[in-house]
Each structure stands twice: as structure tokens, then as C-alpha cells.
């Protein structure tokens, strides 16, 4: 779980702007999932190029901010980097050139490019369709497409408490810094961080009890209200028409 990603990114509700905002979260979730599933099966250059184009178009429609989006695309996970570096060396095939005595194969380079395009198209499309939606609407959409309500409720509640614990963690860390703690690779640091972790677990367990009691005090009887879904309207049906056409076109490019 990588570094500087701020937990604040999760809490920006109601930042849905642009033409995509009018579309029902359920429709967007279904669109994203269907696109990503089809993407997993694509290998040919024209299909992947078209998929990347489609993702870019949707990203423009969603008015994704340029800077953070580029940062998200370039933040490839560690092993993806290994994968891209090793594939040209390990895949057998026609030799393009030699690098430090290792042969770089054309097939390997092609495969690395395929993976880069596929991963980026996927990240872009997921960002465009889902990440602007806000967590509460995402939870409702999950329930609306058949995810068990318990998972959707758990999702909502978890988001709510991440804010709490992020603050708590920052406070404890500040207190440690104030006493002169600087994290390093030594027994004292590990011990301090381990105790910090234990302290957070303890406080969260206590908070969980308090929350459960507070909910009961307000008449919670063991079931949450159902998510309310609005009726699909014109923009939703429009996307529901356009999307299968896009998916069919991609499948045609790949499999014909």
C-alpha cells in the first residue's frame, strides 16, 4: 500500500462535475466493470489502441484533473516495473539488440508494451468512471448491482472510520515527534511503532464498543435501512446504449 497517497482522497464527496455526473452510479459501475473484464482478454494492437482511446475520451468527459491523473498513471506498482524490465529479456524470440550481453527480444518488448497499454487503459477508465463518484454513492451503486448489502454497509462505515483513525494516527505520530522520535531502522524505532500499532488496535476496539452502544441507544435493532436507488433517466439509457456498442467494437477488433 503505497506511500504518499493521502487518505483525504477518499473523502472528497460531491466533486462529481462534468457530463458524466448526470449518469447513475450503478450504470457507471457496470460500465467500468464490463470494460475492465473485456480489457483483460484483449491482446491485439488495434483493440488495445482503441481501448486506450476510449478510456481517454471518457476521462475527458469526466473532466479528470490532469496533474493527479498523470501521477496516478505513472505510479506503477513495483512488480509491474520488474515485469516490464524482465519481459524483453526473458521472452524467447527474434533478437532486437543486446544489452550487457543479454538479448532483448522483439516479442518481449511487444508484450511489455501490451501490458503498459492495458494497465493504463484500465487505470484511466476506472479513474474516469468511478473515482469521481464519492464513496457513499459508490456504496449505493455496489448494492444496486447485486453486491450483498452487508459489504456495501461495511464499506460505508469503514470509510467513515478511516477519517477518524487517520486523525488519531496523525495525532499519536505528532506526539512521538514532539518527544524527539525519529523513525529509523533500529530496535527502538520498531518497538515504538509496534506499540503505536498496538495502541491503535486497542483504541479502535474500545471505539467499536462505544459505537455499538451508541447505535443501540438510538434504537438500532440489527438491520440497516436499505439503499435507495433513483430511477434510470435519459442520460443513463444513453450510456447503456453506447456502452455495448463500444464493447462490441473492441471485441470485434480483437477477435475478428
Amino acid at each position: 500500500m503505497s506511500g504518499k497517497a493521502s487518505a483525504a482522497a477518499i473523502f472528497a464527496e460531491n466533486r462529481d462535475t462534468g457530463p458524466l455526473a448526470a449518469i447513475d452510479p450503478r450504470v457507471r459501475l457496470v460500465a467500468a466493470i464490463s470494460f475492465l473484464v473485456l480489457l483483460a482478454t484483449l491482446h491485439s494492437a488495434p483493440a488495445l489502441a482503441a481501448a486506450l482511446m476510449a478510456a481517454m475520451v471518457v476521462a475527458v468527459f469526466a473532466r479528470l484533473p490532469l496533474g493527479p491523473t498523470l501521477r496516478r498513471l505513472t505510479a506503477v506498482e513495483g512488480f509491474l516495473l520488474f515485469l516490464l524490465l524482465t519481459l524483453p529479456l526473458t521472452m524467447p524470440g527474434t533478437e532486437l539488440f543486446r544489452l550487457f550481453g543479454l538479448s532483448v527480444s522483439e516479442e518481449g518488448v511487444n508484450r511489455a508494451i501490451v501490458i503498459i497499454v492495458r494497465v493504463n487503459a484500465g487505470v484511466l477508465m476506472a479513474a474516469a468512471l468511478l473515482s469521481t463518484m464519492g464513496t457513499m454513492r459508490l456504496a449505493g451503486a455496489m448494492n444496486g448491482i447485486g453486491v450483498p448489502p452487508r459489504i456495501a454497509h461495511l464499506f460505508q462505515l469503514t470509510v467513515r472510520y478511516i477519517a477518524v483513525f487517520h486523525e488519531e494516527y496523525a495525532r499519536l505520530r505528532r506526539a512521538m515527534r514532539a518527544r524527539g522520535f525519529r523513525a529509523g531502522s533500529n530496535r527502538h524505532s520498531w518497538r515504538s511503532l509496534g506499540h503505536l500499532l498496538g495502541m491503535l488496535v486497542l483504541r479502535s476496539a474500545e471505539r467499536a464498543e462505544r459505537v455499538a452502544w451508541a447505535m443501540r441507544a438510538r434504537g438500532f435493532s440489527g438491520s440497516f435501512p436499505a439503499f435507495s436507488q433513483r430511477r434510470l433517466e435519459r442520460p443513463d439509457y444513453l450510456l447503456l446504449l453506447v456502452w455495448p456498442a463500444l464493447l462490441l467494437a473492441l471485441a470485434w477488433l480483437e477477435f475478428s
Binding site: 515485469l83 526473458t90 469503514t158
Partner: protein
């Protein structure tokens, strides 16, 4: 490193991971009634935040997975907790993927739950020293199992991923060390201040209000 993005794995591996995770989720949710949801949510949130802590191990720094500790504290509920955490990371941070949710949840959550179940009986009335040993062992075994499962997911997807799968396997070394040490210290701390916290007393205890 455990977050495989969309577009890398083959379809059979994705489907396999999805099926296993769906089954584990169904089992975990069946054991979890709605009254207990807030408690799992609070702990899921905690583990999400704790995984943002960066820990220096020798020249590298790692972010904790905490799957072993999760298994020791909330048992099977760790599966939905990890799932929710991964959905958040995939959608809002861009780490991991949507189609890989099944594989990633399986790789991260299952080892923690299973190793914790195996070792949890040793934590009954354990002194801090023993709690630290058990915690460290569970954490190390969980990370090692996750590493092997991630490498297998890659290798089974495509034979030409083998070399990078091996590098991935090696790169889990620092995480394993850091995770074992920190989980050990955390378990020692918990055994000292709240010995009945292991394997979800918060869920079994039900009625008693914690003093705070």
C-alpha cells in the same frame, strides 16, 4: 507489492481468485450479523490507516500489510475488511485493480486468517514474550504465503512472467522482516494491556462496555 493491477493476469487466474474470494466472503459474512458490522468497520478502518505507516528495514522502507495481525484480532472478518480496503485503494488511489479484487483479496487475506486460526490457541493467557513470538510467527508466515501466492498468480498467468515472479518473491524479504518485528511488538503490547483482545473478544463479548 501485493496489489496486482488490471491487465496483467490471465482470465483463468482472475476467475479462480474471484471464486475463492466470493466463497470466503460468503462464509465470513454468514458468521457476521449486522449488529457486529460497525465493529468490523472500525477495525477495517484501523488496518487501512495502519498500512500507511512506513517502516524502515535496513536500507529500504516498507508499508505493512498487517494481514497476520488482522487475522489474530478479527478472524474471518479480515476477509471483508481486506476486500473493502482494496476496493478503496483501487478506486481512489489507483493501486490494484477492479478485476483483480478477487485474486488480491485471496492473496492478502486468506493466509492471515488461516495462520492466525492455527496459532491463536497459543495466545490464551500468553505472557507478552510468548504473544510477541506468536504474533511475529503468524505475521512472517502470512507475508511469506502472500508472496508465494502473488508469485504463483503471475506464473500461472503466463510462463514468461517467471523471472519477475521470482524477483517479486525476493522483494518480500524486507516486508516479511518488518511485518514480523512490528506485529511481534504490537502483540506484546496488547498482551500486556488487554490480553483478551485476541481473536475477536470484541465480537464475542457483546454486552460489556469497554472502560474508556
Amino acid at each position: 507489492m501485493a496489489h496486482i493491477p488490471d491487465g496483467v493476469l490471465s482470465v483463468p487466474v482472475l476467475v479462480g481468485g474471484g471464486v475463492v474470494t466470493a466463497a470466503a466472503l460468503a462464509y465470513a459474512l454468514k458468521k457476521l450479523d449486522e449488529d457486529r458490522l460497525p465493529r468490523v468497520a472500525v477495525l477495517a478502518a484501523l488496518f487501512f490507516v495502519a498500512s500507511l505507516i512506513s517502516v524502515a528495514v535496513g536500507p529500504t522502507s516498507v508499508h505493512l500489510l498487517l494481514s497476520g495481525l488482522m487475522g489474530l484480532i478479527i478472524g474471518w472478518s479480515a476477509v471483508p475488511a481486506v476486500f473493502v480496503g482494496l476496493v478503496l485503494q483501487a478506486v481512489f488511489f489507483g493501486f490494484g485493480g477492479v478485476t483483480t479484487l478477487g485474486v488480491n483479496t485471496m492473496n492478502i487475506a486468506l493466509p492471515g486468517v488461516l495462520w492466525a486460526m492455527l496459532f491463536a490457541p497459543l495466545l490464551a493467557n500468553a505472557n507478552p514474550r510468548r504473544a510477541a513470538m506468536v504474533g511475529a510467527t503468524v505475521a512472517a508466515l502470512s507475508v511469506a504465503s502472500t508472496a508465494v501466492m502473488v508469485a504463483l498468480s503471475l506464473t500461472l498467468s503466463d510462463a514468461s512472467y517467471t523471472l519477475s515472479a521470482r524477483i517479486v518473491l525476493l522483494s518480500y524479504g524486507p516486508l516479511l522482516v518488518g511485518e514480523a518485528i512490528l506485529t511481534g511488538f504490537a502483540c506484546a503490547f496488547l498482551a500486556r494491556v488487554s490480553p483478551d483482545i485476541f481473536l475477536a473478544p470484541a465480537m464475542r463479548r457483546g454486552g460489556k462496555l469497554a472502560a474508556s
